[in-house]
Protein backbone atom coordinates (compact mmCIF):
# COMPACT_ATOMS: atom_id res chain seq x y z
CA UNK A 1 0.00 0.00 0.00
CA UNK A 2 1.49 3.36 -1.03
CA UNK A 3 -0.61 6.17 0.34
CA UNK A 4 -0.52 9.24 -1.90
CA UNK A 5 1.70 12.11 -0.86
CA UNK A 6 -0.04 14.48 -3.26
CA UNK A 7 -2.08 16.86 -1.14
CA UNK A 8 -4.44 17.48 -4.07
CA UNK A 9 -5.40 13.80 -3.95
CA UNK A 10 -5.88 14.07 -0.18
CA UNK A 11 -8.13 17.07 -0.64
CA UNK A 12 -10.15 15.15 -3.25
CA UNK A 13 -10.46 12.17 -0.90
CA UNK A 14 -11.57 14.31 2.04
CA UNK A 15 -14.20 16.06 -0.09
CA UNK A 16 -15.35 12.66 -1.37
CA UNK A 17 -15.99 11.54 2.22
CA UNK A 18 -17.71 14.83 3.05
CA UNK A 19 -20.18 14.22 0.24
CA UNK A 20 -20.65 10.49 0.87
CA UNK A 21 -21.45 11.30 4.52
CA UNK A 22 -24.85 12.47 3.26
CA UNK A 23 -25.78 8.82 2.78
CA UNK A 24 -25.85 8.50 6.56
CA UNK A 25 -27.63 11.78 7.16
CA UNK A 26 -27.51 15.49 6.36
CA UNK A 27 -24.56 17.12 8.15
CA UNK A 28 -22.38 20.27 8.05
CA UNK A 29 -19.53 18.51 6.21
CA UNK A 30 -21.84 17.66 3.36
CA UNK A 31 -23.31 21.14 3.31
CA UNK A 32 -19.83 22.64 3.14
CA UNK A 33 -18.87 20.42 0.19
CA UNK A 34 -22.24 21.05 -1.47
CA UNK A 35 -21.82 24.83 -1.36
CA UNK A 36 -18.19 24.63 -2.40
CA UNK A 37 -19.21 22.46 -5.34
CA UNK A 38 -21.91 24.84 -6.54
CA UNK A 39 -19.54 27.79 -6.17
CA UNK A 40 -16.66 26.18 -8.04
CA UNK A 41 -19.00 24.83 -10.73
CA UNK A 42 -20.48 28.28 -11.41
CA UNK A 43 -17.04 29.90 -11.44
CA UNK A 44 -15.86 27.19 -13.83
CA UNK A 45 -18.81 27.80 -16.13
CA UNK A 46 -18.24 31.54 -16.30
CA UNK A 47 -14.54 31.10 -16.97
CA UNK A 48 -15.28 28.86 -19.92
CA UNK A 49 -17.62 31.43 -21.45
CA UNK A 50 -15.08 34.18 -21.03
CA UNK A 51 -11.86 32.39 -21.87
CA UNK A 52 -13.02 30.07 -24.65
CA UNK A 53 -15.20 32.50 -26.58
CA UNK A 54 -15.88 36.03 -25.41
CA UNK A 55 -12.25 37.02 -24.86
CA UNK A 56 -11.09 35.93 -28.37
CA UNK A 57 -14.23 37.50 -29.88
CA UNK A 58 -13.36 40.87 -28.37
CA UNK A 59 -9.56 40.83 -28.56
CA UNK A 60 -9.12 39.08 -31.91
CA UNK A 61 -12.29 39.41 -33.96
CA UNK A 62 -13.37 42.92 -33.02
CA UNK A 63 -10.17 44.73 -32.03
CA UNK A 64 -7.58 42.98 -34.22
CA UNK A 65 -9.59 41.82 -37.26
CA UNK A 66 -12.12 44.69 -37.24
CA UNK A 67 -15.26 42.51 -37.30
CA UNK A 68 -17.31 45.31 -35.75
CA UNK A 69 -20.64 43.66 -36.54
CA UNK A 70 -19.96 41.29 -33.63
CA UNK A 71 -20.64 44.20 -31.26
CA UNK A 72 -24.32 44.02 -32.24
CA UNK A 73 -25.04 40.51 -30.87
CA UNK A 74 -22.98 41.31 -27.78
CA UNK A 75 -25.16 44.35 -27.04
CA UNK A 76 -28.29 42.39 -27.93
CA UNK A 77 -27.25 39.60 -25.55
CA UNK A 78 -26.65 42.08 -22.75
CA UNK A 79 -30.38 42.84 -22.74
CA UNK A 80 -30.86 39.59 -20.78
CA UNK A 81 -29.59 41.40 -17.66
CA UNK A 82 -32.62 43.69 -17.65
CA UNK A 83 -34.42 40.79 -15.98
CA UNK A 84 -32.88 42.09 -12.76
CA UNK A 85 -34.64 45.45 -13.20
CA UNK A 86 -38.38 44.83 -12.81
CA UNK A 87 -39.50 47.94 -14.71
CA UNK A 88 -37.42 47.08 -17.77
CA UNK A 89 -37.53 43.30 -17.49
CA UNK A 90 -39.53 43.06 -20.73
CA UNK A 91 -36.32 43.92 -22.59
CA UNK A 92 -34.84 40.60 -21.42
CA UNK A 93 -37.44 38.82 -23.55
CA UNK A 94 -35.73 39.91 -26.76
CA UNK A 95 -32.59 37.74 -26.54
CA UNK A 96 -34.71 34.96 -25.05
CA UNK A 97 -37.02 35.14 -28.08
CA UNK A 98 -34.05 34.94 -30.40
CA UNK A 99 -32.68 31.79 -28.72
CA UNK A 100 -35.99 30.02 -28.71
CA UNK A 101 -36.84 31.07 -32.27
CA UNK A 102 -33.45 30.15 -33.69
CA UNK A 103 -33.48 26.84 -31.79
CA UNK A 104 -36.96 26.03 -33.10
CA UNK A 105 -35.84 26.87 -36.63
CA UNK A 106 -32.95 24.47 -36.16
CA UNK A 107 -35.33 21.71 -35.07
CA UNK A 108 -37.46 22.22 -38.18
CA UNK A 109 -34.45 22.49 -40.47
CA UNK A 110 -32.27 19.64 -39.24
CA UNK A 111 -34.40 17.08 -37.41
CA UNK A 112 -36.28 15.62 -40.41
CA UNK A 113 -33.17 13.95 -41.86
CA UNK A 114 -32.44 11.42 -39.07
CA UNK A 115 -36.18 10.94 -38.62
CA UNK A 116 -36.65 9.99 -42.27
CA UNK A 117 -33.71 7.58 -42.11
CA UNK A 118 -35.37 5.92 -39.13
CA UNK A 119 -38.66 5.59 -41.02
CA UNK A 120 -36.90 4.22 -44.12
CA UNK A 121 -35.03 1.68 -42.07
CA UNK A 122 -38.27 0.47 -40.53
CA UNK A 123 -39.60 -0.74 -43.88
CA UNK A 124 -36.82 -2.97 -45.14
CA UNK A 125 -37.18 -6.42 -46.66
CA UNK A 126 -37.72 -8.96 -43.90
CA UNK A 127 -36.01 -11.91 -45.56
CA UNK A 128 -32.27 -12.21 -45.12
CA UNK A 129 -30.80 -14.78 -47.49
CA UNK A 130 -29.36 -17.77 -45.67
CA UNK A 131 -30.35 -16.55 -42.22
CA UNK A 132 -33.82 -17.61 -41.12
CA UNK A 133 -33.04 -16.40 -37.58
CA UNK A 134 -32.39 -12.89 -38.83
CA UNK A 135 -35.56 -13.01 -40.92
CA UNK A 136 -37.63 -13.98 -37.87
CA UNK A 137 -35.97 -11.21 -35.85
CA UNK A 138 -36.83 -8.68 -38.56
CA UNK A 139 -40.47 -9.73 -38.43
CA UNK A 140 -40.58 -9.56 -34.62
CA UNK A 141 -38.92 -6.14 -34.77
CA UNK A 142 -41.44 -4.79 -37.26
CA UNK A 143 -44.46 -6.15 -35.40
CA UNK A 144 -43.21 -4.65 -32.13
CA UNK A 145 -42.43 -1.31 -33.75
CA UNK A 146 -45.90 -1.09 -35.28
CA UNK A 147 -47.37 -2.13 -31.94
CA UNK A 148 -45.49 0.62 -30.13
CA UNK A 149 -46.66 3.21 -32.66
CA UNK A 150 -50.26 2.01 -32.28
CA UNK A 151 -49.92 2.23 -28.51
CA UNK A 152 -49.22 5.96 -28.81
CA UNK A 153 -52.26 6.68 -30.97
CA UNK A 154 -54.59 8.13 -28.38
CA UNK A 155 -57.32 9.38 -30.70
CA UNK A 156 -58.63 5.84 -31.30
CA UNK A 157 -60.64 3.88 -28.75
CA UNK A 158 -58.57 0.71 -28.45
CA UNK A 159 -61.34 -1.20 -26.70
CA UNK A 160 -63.68 -0.80 -29.65
CA UNK A 161 -61.21 -0.61 -32.53
CA UNK A 162 -59.40 -3.95 -32.54
CA UNK A 163 -57.29 -2.96 -35.58
CA UNK A 164 -55.47 -0.68 -33.17
CA UNK A 165 -56.28 -2.60 -30.01
CA UNK A 166 -54.34 -5.80 -30.70
CA UNK A 167 -51.16 -4.16 -32.03
CA UNK A 168 -51.29 -1.69 -29.11
CA UNK A 169 -51.42 -4.67 -26.75
CA UNK A 170 -48.24 -6.06 -28.36
CA UNK A 171 -46.75 -2.58 -28.24
CA UNK A 172 -47.32 -2.36 -24.50
CA UNK A 173 -45.29 -5.53 -23.94
CA UNK A 174 -42.55 -4.27 -26.23
CA UNK A 175 -42.39 -1.02 -24.28
CA UNK A 176 -42.15 -2.97 -21.00
CA UNK A 177 -39.20 -4.94 -22.37
CA UNK A 178 -37.61 -1.70 -23.57
CA UNK A 179 -38.07 -0.08 -20.17
CA UNK A 180 -36.65 -3.21 -18.53
CA UNK A 181 -33.55 -2.90 -20.71
CA UNK A 182 -33.36 0.78 -19.79
CA UNK A 183 -33.53 -0.11 -16.09
CA UNK A 184 -30.76 -2.69 -16.55
CA UNK A 185 -28.66 -0.03 -18.28
CA UNK A 186 -29.36 2.47 -15.53
CA UNK A 187 -28.20 0.01 -12.86
CA UNK A 188 -24.99 -0.59 -14.79
CA UNK A 189 -24.34 3.12 -15.21
CA UNK A 190 -24.98 3.96 -11.57
CA UNK A 191 -22.74 1.18 -10.29
CA UNK A 192 -20.02 2.39 -12.66
CA UNK A 193 -20.09 5.80 -10.99
CA UNK A 194 -19.35 4.36 -7.58
CA UNK A 195 -16.72 2.02 -8.99
CA UNK A 196 -14.99 5.13 -10.30
CA UNK A 197 -15.00 6.63 -6.82
CA UNK A 198 -13.66 3.47 -5.22
CA UNK A 199 -10.91 3.25 -7.81
CA UNK A 200 -9.93 6.79 -6.85
CA UNK A 201 -10.03 6.15 -3.09
CA UNK A 202 -8.42 2.71 -3.11
CA UNK A 203 -6.06 3.40 -6.00
CA UNK A 204 -5.03 7.05 -6.33
CA UNK A 205 -5.37 7.85 -2.63
CA UNK A 206 -4.57 4.71 -0.62
CA UNK A 207 -2.56 2.95 -3.29
CA UNK A 208 -4.14 -0.36 -2.32
CA UNK A 209 -4.91 -1.26 -5.94
CA UNK A 210 -3.03 -0.49 -9.15
Amino acid sequence: MHISSDYGVWLGAILTFFILSYLYKENPFFRFAEHLFVGVATGFGMTGDWDQYLKPAITKDIIKDGKFWEILPILFGLLIYFQFFPKLSWLARFPMSWWVGYGSGYVLAFSPAPFITQINNSFQRFAVDGSPGQTINNIIFWVMLMGTLCYFVFTVNREKNKVFGYPAWIGRWAIMIGLGAAFGGTVMARISLFIGRLQFLLGNWLGAVK
Partner: protein, 210 residues
Protein backbone atom coordinates in the same frame (compact mmCIF):
# COMPACT_ATOMS: atom_id res chain seq x y z
CA UNK B 1 -44.30 46.50 -28.92
CA UNK B 2 -43.47 44.72 -25.70
CA UNK B 3 -45.64 41.79 -26.74
CA UNK B 4 -45.31 41.79 -30.52
CA UNK B 5 -41.59 42.38 -30.93
CA UNK B 6 -40.50 39.21 -29.08
CA UNK B 7 -42.84 37.18 -31.27
CA UNK B 8 -41.42 38.78 -34.41
CA UNK B 9 -37.85 38.12 -33.21
CA UNK B 10 -38.78 34.47 -32.55
CA UNK B 11 -40.20 34.13 -36.06
CA UNK B 12 -37.21 35.84 -37.70
CA UNK B 13 -34.78 33.60 -35.80
CA UNK B 14 -36.61 30.48 -36.93
CA UNK B 15 -36.95 31.63 -40.54
CA UNK B 16 -33.26 32.49 -40.77
CA UNK B 17 -32.30 28.98 -39.63
CA UNK B 18 -34.63 27.39 -42.17
CA UNK B 19 -33.66 29.69 -45.05
CA UNK B 20 -29.98 29.06 -44.25
CA UNK B 21 -30.44 25.31 -44.39
CA UNK B 22 -32.99 24.83 -47.14
CA UNK B 23 -32.45 27.51 -49.77
CA UNK B 24 -29.74 27.66 -52.42
CA UNK B 25 -29.34 31.36 -51.67
CA UNK B 26 -28.87 30.69 -47.96
CA UNK B 27 -26.29 28.06 -48.76
CA UNK B 28 -24.55 30.30 -51.29
CA UNK B 29 -24.02 33.21 -48.92
CA UNK B 30 -23.28 30.87 -45.99
CA UNK B 31 -26.10 32.48 -44.04
CA UNK B 32 -25.89 29.98 -41.18
CA UNK B 33 -22.22 30.81 -40.59
CA UNK B 34 -23.21 34.34 -39.65
CA UNK B 35 -26.44 33.55 -37.83
CA UNK B 36 -24.69 30.81 -35.84
CA UNK B 37 -22.01 33.24 -34.77
CA UNK B 38 -24.63 35.84 -33.93
CA UNK B 39 -26.50 33.29 -31.82
CA UNK B 40 -23.33 32.17 -30.02
CA UNK B 41 -22.38 35.73 -29.13
CA UNK B 42 -25.89 36.46 -27.86
CA UNK B 43 -25.71 33.24 -25.84
CA UNK B 44 -22.31 33.87 -24.30
CA UNK B 45 -23.51 37.16 -22.88
CA UNK B 46 -25.80 35.26 -20.53
CA UNK B 47 -22.72 33.87 -18.79
CA UNK B 48 -23.29 35.77 -15.56
CA UNK B 49 -27.04 35.32 -15.12
CA UNK B 50 -26.63 32.29 -12.86
CA UNK B 51 -23.81 33.86 -10.85
CA UNK B 52 -25.76 37.07 -10.28
CA UNK B 53 -28.79 35.10 -9.11
CA UNK B 54 -26.66 33.04 -6.73
CA UNK B 55 -24.96 36.19 -5.44
CA UNK B 56 -28.33 37.84 -4.79
CA UNK B 57 -29.74 34.85 -2.92
CA UNK B 58 -26.64 33.97 -0.92
CA UNK B 59 -25.65 37.59 -0.41
CA UNK B 60 -29.02 38.10 1.26
CA UNK B 61 -28.40 35.03 3.43
CA UNK B 62 -25.15 36.55 4.63
CA UNK B 63 -26.57 40.03 5.05
CA UNK B 64 -29.47 38.79 7.19
CA UNK B 65 -27.34 36.21 9.03
CA UNK B 66 -29.80 33.46 8.13
CA UNK B 67 -29.12 29.96 9.44
CA UNK B 68 -26.22 28.38 7.55
CA UNK B 69 -25.01 31.72 6.19
CA UNK B 70 -21.40 30.56 6.64
CA UNK B 71 -22.02 28.07 3.81
CA UNK B 72 -23.26 30.92 1.64
CA UNK B 73 -19.93 32.66 2.22
CA UNK B 74 -18.13 29.49 1.11
CA UNK B 75 -20.21 29.42 -2.08
CA UNK B 76 -19.71 33.08 -2.91
CA UNK B 77 -15.97 33.07 -2.23
CA UNK B 78 -15.45 29.84 -4.18
CA UNK B 79 -17.46 31.09 -7.14
CA UNK B 80 -15.93 34.52 -7.58
CA UNK B 81 -12.39 33.52 -6.58
CA UNK B 82 -12.39 30.66 -9.10
CA UNK B 83 -13.75 32.92 -11.81
CA UNK B 84 -11.16 35.62 -11.11
CA UNK B 85 -8.42 32.97 -11.13
CA UNK B 86 -9.76 31.72 -14.46
CA UNK B 87 -9.76 35.21 -15.96
CA UNK B 88 -6.19 35.85 -14.79
CA UNK B 89 -4.72 32.44 -15.60
CA UNK B 90 -6.97 31.25 -18.38
CA UNK B 91 -8.74 27.95 -18.82
CA UNK B 92 -5.45 26.14 -19.17
CA UNK B 93 -3.82 27.81 -16.15
CA UNK B 94 -1.89 25.51 -13.83
CA UNK B 95 -3.75 26.47 -10.65
CA UNK B 96 -7.08 26.61 -12.45
CA UNK B 97 -6.65 23.05 -13.70
CA UNK B 98 -5.32 21.90 -10.33
CA UNK B 99 -8.54 23.05 -8.65
CA UNK B 100 -10.58 21.45 -11.42
CA UNK B 101 -8.78 18.11 -11.21
CA UNK B 102 -8.64 17.84 -7.43
CA UNK B 103 -11.71 19.63 -6.13
CA UNK B 104 -14.36 20.00 -8.77
CA UNK B 105 -13.82 16.68 -10.54
CA UNK B 106 -13.94 14.67 -7.31
CA UNK B 107 -16.93 16.50 -5.92
CA UNK B 108 -18.90 16.18 -9.16
CA UNK B 109 -18.12 12.48 -9.52
CA UNK B 110 -19.03 11.78 -5.87
CA UNK B 111 -22.32 13.68 -6.03
CA UNK B 112 -23.44 11.47 -8.91
CA UNK B 113 -21.94 8.29 -7.48
CA UNK B 114 -24.53 8.43 -4.70
CA UNK B 115 -27.09 7.41 -7.31
CA UNK B 116 -25.62 3.91 -7.07
CA UNK B 117 -27.00 3.64 -3.54
CA UNK B 118 -30.30 5.26 -4.36
CA UNK B 119 -30.95 2.85 -7.21
CA UNK B 120 -30.13 -0.08 -4.93
CA UNK B 121 -32.56 1.20 -2.33
CA UNK B 122 -35.21 1.96 -4.97
CA UNK B 123 -34.82 -1.52 -6.51
CA UNK B 124 -35.37 -3.06 -3.09
CA UNK B 125 -38.31 -0.87 -2.08
CA UNK B 126 -40.22 -0.08 -5.25
CA UNK B 127 -39.60 -2.86 -7.76
CA UNK B 128 -42.63 -5.01 -6.90
CA UNK B 129 -44.14 -7.66 -9.14
CA UNK B 130 -47.68 -6.35 -8.83
CA UNK B 131 -48.77 -6.83 -12.45
CA UNK B 132 -47.85 -8.95 -15.47
CA UNK B 133 -46.30 -5.89 -17.09
CA UNK B 134 -44.06 -5.34 -14.06
CA UNK B 135 -43.00 -8.99 -14.25
CA UNK B 136 -41.99 -8.67 -17.90
CA UNK B 137 -40.11 -5.47 -17.09
CA UNK B 138 -38.25 -7.22 -14.27
CA UNK B 139 -37.35 -10.25 -16.39
CA UNK B 140 -36.02 -8.02 -19.18
CA UNK B 141 -34.02 -5.96 -16.69
CA UNK B 142 -32.61 -9.08 -15.02
CA UNK B 143 -31.57 -10.60 -18.36
CA UNK B 144 -29.88 -7.38 -19.47
CA UNK B 145 -28.05 -7.08 -16.13
CA UNK B 146 -26.93 -10.70 -16.13
CA UNK B 147 -25.88 -10.52 -19.76
CA UNK B 148 -23.81 -7.38 -19.30
CA UNK B 149 -22.06 -8.72 -16.20
CA UNK B 150 -19.18 -11.12 -16.92
CA UNK B 151 -20.28 -13.22 -13.92
CA UNK B 152 -23.69 -13.78 -15.53
CA UNK B 153 -22.06 -14.97 -18.75
CA UNK B 154 -19.73 -17.21 -16.74
CA UNK B 155 -22.68 -18.89 -15.01
CA UNK B 156 -24.57 -19.38 -18.29
CA UNK B 157 -23.10 -18.25 -21.60
CA UNK B 158 -26.54 -17.66 -23.11
CA UNK B 159 -27.25 -14.74 -20.76
CA UNK B 160 -25.07 -12.61 -23.04
CA UNK B 161 -26.98 -13.66 -26.15
CA UNK B 162 -30.33 -13.06 -24.44
CA UNK B 163 -29.22 -9.61 -23.30
CA UNK B 164 -27.99 -8.72 -26.79
CA UNK B 165 -31.23 -9.96 -28.36
CA UNK B 166 -33.33 -7.85 -25.99
CA UNK B 167 -31.22 -4.79 -26.73
CA UNK B 168 -31.25 -5.30 -30.50
CA UNK B 169 -34.85 -6.40 -31.15
CA UNK B 170 -37.60 -5.54 -28.62
CA UNK B 171 -35.70 -2.65 -27.06
CA UNK B 172 -34.78 -1.16 -30.44
CA UNK B 173 -38.36 -1.55 -31.71
CA UNK B 174 -39.94 0.14 -28.70
CA UNK B 175 -37.30 2.87 -28.48
CA UNK B 176 -37.72 3.64 -32.16
CA UNK B 177 -41.47 3.87 -31.70
CA UNK B 178 -40.98 6.27 -28.79
CA UNK B 179 -38.36 8.27 -30.74
CA UNK B 180 -40.71 8.67 -33.72
CA UNK B 181 -43.36 10.03 -31.36
CA UNK B 182 -40.83 12.36 -29.75
CA UNK B 183 -39.65 13.64 -33.15
CA UNK B 184 -43.20 14.45 -34.19
CA UNK B 185 -43.80 16.15 -30.85
CA UNK B 186 -40.62 18.19 -31.33
CA UNK B 187 -41.67 19.34 -34.80
CA UNK B 188 -45.09 20.39 -33.63
CA UNK B 189 -43.74 22.27 -30.61
CA UNK B 190 -41.16 24.08 -32.76
CA UNK B 191 -43.86 25.05 -35.24
CA UNK B 192 -46.16 26.28 -32.47
CA UNK B 193 -43.36 28.43 -31.08
CA UNK B 194 -42.56 30.01 -34.44
CA UNK B 195 -46.22 30.72 -35.11
CA UNK B 196 -46.58 32.37 -31.73
CA UNK B 197 -49.05 29.81 -30.41
CA UNK B 198 -46.64 28.63 -27.72
CA UNK B 199 -45.39 31.58 -25.67
CA UNK B 200 -44.27 30.09 -22.37
CA UNK B 201 -40.65 31.12 -23.05
CA UNK B 202 -41.69 34.75 -22.97
CA UNK B 203 -42.87 34.38 -19.39
CA UNK B 204 -45.81 36.34 -18.06
CA UNK B 205 -47.39 36.57 -21.50
CA UNK B 206 -50.11 34.05 -20.97
CA UNK B 207 -48.21 30.86 -21.78
CA UNK B 208 -49.77 28.82 -24.53
CA UNK B 209 -52.52 30.24 -26.74
CA UNK B 210 -55.02 27.52 -27.67
Amino acid sequence: MRKELPLIITLIGGLLAMVGKWTVWGDHIKLLTYTDQFDTLVGVMAMMVGAINLTRIHGLNVQRRRSGYAFSIVLLVAMWAYFVLGVIEGYQGKNFRWIYNNLYRNMDATMFSMLCFYIASAAYRAFRIRTREATVLLIAAALVMLGKAPLGETIWAKFGDASNWIMRIPNTASMRGIAIGAYLGGFVTALRILLGIERAHLGGMGGSVQ
